[in-house]
């Protein structure tokens, strides 16, 4: 008798493999993109199934949502470019021998890795044990947030630098190679968009802020919240409520760096009250975490939105 839980796992895994396979091996960008977004959603389910609700939220918002939006952007760009009638002839495939060798090696790799991974997932490591015992009496309730903002806060800090660097890279492209806007406002706004936004705005704001607030005690946090707020911004950008501008205003730049800046300042300032950077002070640690996390949320939301927008700045557009 197969347990129902195992049946679910089996279905999930088969789904993941099937969809990932058809996404990366399919013809056509659009098809691959849509399949990849479905893959992201299945992945979110898998995270939930493997007791990682924080990841499920992040995957749904970032992995499936924003990556999907970015991919669709790329598809739209290609589609607009090729409207002249040029056929998609880019995919000059490598030879059959190469494919066969690659396939054979991949199958060997899969078998070897599967055996290795299976044999490794048993023990409780020293770092995990330490994190558990230290985390029990921690002032933050959610163990993942404890690791992200305290034990491995330095990683989180540097990861914000990675996010900022991606945006600076996009800025170079925008500034030096002028391309038309990907999302020009439509001449006639569809009648249902305004009611959508009036309902979606408060809901998404509320959900975003809830995720931020809940993050210290239960699943959620700066990344999930930032991604949701960025998604709201994407809606505004797509419906012409936000229009691209040629410069990043000082206010926008401040929001983009505030998270990383506050985090770094705290890292250095910790040397005043302790002998280790990034050590939280005895008093007011919780408010400090909330402050930093709020700044992180703002920066993440703004950076992700600007990465999607493909412009240096954004301004309020005319609503019809």
């Amino acid at each position: 008798m197969i347990e129902p839980g195992f049946l679910l796992d089996l279905l999930l895994c088969l789904g993941l493999l099937g969809i990932a396979g058809s996404a990366v091996l399919s013809r056509g960008q659009f098809r691959a993109t849509v399949l990849f977004m479905v893959f992201g959603l299945l992945m979110a389910l898998t995270w939930a199934r493997l007791q990682a609700p924080d990841l499920a939220l992040a995957e749904a918002a970032i992995g499936a949502g924003l990556t999907g939006a970015l991919l669709l952007n790329a598809c739209k760009a290609t589609y607009t470019r090729r409207q002249a009638g040029e056929a998609a002839s880019q995919d000059d495939a490598p030879g059959t021998v190469f494919r066969l060798v690659a396939a054979g090696l991949s199958i060997l790799l899969a078998a070897g890795l599967a055996w290795l991974m299976y044999s490794l997932t048993v023990a409780d490591g020293p770092a995990a044990a330490m994190a558990r015992s230290e985390g029990e009496s921690h002032f933050l309730g959610n163990p993942v947030t404890v690791v992200l903002l305290d034990f491995r806060a330095y990683d989180t800090l540097l990861e914000m630098a990675v996010l900022l660097l991606a945006l600076i890279g996009v800025h170079i492209l925008i500034r030096h190679y002028r391309l038309p806007d990907l999302h020009p406002p439509a001449p006639v706004s569809p009648p249902m968009l305004t009611p959508l936004l009036t309902v979606a705005t408060p809901l998404m704001l509320m959900a975003g802020l809830y995720l931020f607030w809940a993050g210290s005690q239960s699943p959620g946090g700066a990344f999930q919240s930032g991604a949701l707020l960025a998604a709201l911004g994407v809606l505004y950008r797509l419906t012409g409520r936000l229009v691209p501008t040629g410069t990043a205003s000082p206010g926008l730049r401040l929001i983009l760096v505030i998270g990383l800046a506050l985090f770094s300042l705290f890292a250095c300032a910790a040397l005043i009250w302790s002998s280790a950077p990034l050590q939280y002070p005895e008093t007011a640690a919780y408010s400090l975490v909330l402050l930093i996390e709020f700044a992180l949320t703002l920066s993440i939301a703004a950076t992700l939105l600007m990465l999607f927008s493909g412009s240096l700045g954004l301004a309020r557009g005319q609503t019809s």
């Binding site: 290795l116 991974m117 044999s119 490794l120 997932t121 023990a123 409780d124 490591g125 020293p126 770092a127 995990a128 044990a129 330490m130 994190a131 230290e134 305290d150 034990f151 491995r152 806060a153 330095y154 990683d155 540097l158 990861e159 630098a161 990675v162 900022l164 660097l165 991606a166 600076i168 890279g169 800025h171 170079i172 492209l173 500034r175 030096h176 190679y177 000082p250 730049r253 401040l254 983009l256 760096v257 990383l260 800046a261 770094s264 300042l265 890292a267 250095c268 040397l271 302790s274 002998s275 280790a276 950077p277 990034l278 050590q279 939280y280």
Partner: protein, 493 residues
Amino acid sequence: MGLTELSILLPVLMVFGPLLLALLVFLAQWQRSADWLGMGLGLILLALLTPFSGAVLLEGPLEMQLGGHDRGLAIPFYVDGLTLAMLWLNTLLFLFIQVYAGAWLQLKQPAPAAEFRPLFLLLWSGLNALFLSGDLFNLYVTLEITTLAAVPLVILSHGHAAMAAAMRYLLFALVGSIIFLLGVALVYAQAGLLSLPLLQEQAEPHPALTVALLAMTAGVAMKAALFPVHAWLPEAHASAPSPASALLSALVAKAAAYLILRLWMGPLEAQWTPAMAQLMGALGAAGIIYASIQALRQTRLKRVIAYSTVAQLGYLLLLIPMASVLAWNGVIYHALTHGLAKAALFLAAGNLIMVLRDDSLRNLAGCDRVLSKNILVIGLAGVAIAGLPPTGGFIAKWWLISAALESGQWWWAVVIGLGGLLAAAYIFRILSYAFFSPDPHQETPIHQAQGQLTRALVWPPVILAFLAIALGMAGGLLAPFLEIAAPVTGAQA
């Protein structure tokens, strides 16, 4: 300020100084004032590095737990001789390239200044963070910082070729970092640890850790452009703007190669067999020979220098089969000399291109008279890379060859000698174009354009080239620093 305070303050300053400055520059859109602040920061770091190195020499390798958590839970900063050498190289190069880049940006129209300076500073911070890090996952994050700072630097020089090269670089780096992360995950699953010093103390041979080591090596090799996964480097480094090329070749690719040494020599030392070490050495040797020959066949100056980078990175792998203190010192010395000389070469090449508008080797004809300082730099830095006495390259090769002979592996000595000969050949080939070709130019246009080259453009490469030579006199002085906590046994230098 006592030594203890200094040993805490300096690593923090090395990471967060450039980082906070980058944010400030991005926020306030400073231009020239950012250069002055950057130079000031570089000088402060240089001044503090001297007593800091003394402190590490006296008190042994430094290990500092971030966040004040227990060892094993926290991410540590770890400083030994190798780290110290890389921090010195980083600080020196960023200081001089900052001077150069400030003047270069003034001449560029349209100036990519608004993005160049934050990228430059974030790359500085990221490289310092990478060299200081003693935690596997943190190394992954810092590697991504260097990648995402380096690829945009390539597209700063406009044009289709640069973007295509950047895309190729990005794809290699992306796949490489994922394979590296697989290795990190395997280590965590097996040992339950990410901290390198702890892994070094506790690791026992385990097949999973061997696989992890191989995965991490393969991933990082793609970022370091080691033979045979070097295909992206020549185009990317050659089409980047010259100050960026200098950073990419002298530091970014080397940072990835540094990681290979870090992993093989310390934490995962128990995980490899002599046969694997010989294979790594063979890959390094193949890279040296293959890329040197490629460098001899190029027709463009920057591509010669870029192929030379692939070749020179190969030497670093020779440490693995030899694994003695002598080889350790030799490899670090080689990394230092190559870093200084390669940066000097690219900066000088940038000057030549600015005047000649093109970097075909044929165009160099007659430059020896009007652009003498830049040609001099190519000569001096080239001599250092080829390893002629009395340069730093000579000491490095001397130590490496002695280490090879002492360990009875004479074949590496042959490779090193051959590599030096080939390097001398491709450098003298550049010089022969400059000295001996008939002069096709009217003298006047070059003379006019030469006026553009301000002192801030001419002197940094000259000083860097002289430093690469001067390293040759300091071998005995610096050896004790390099040996701090050298994780290999054997003959002293």
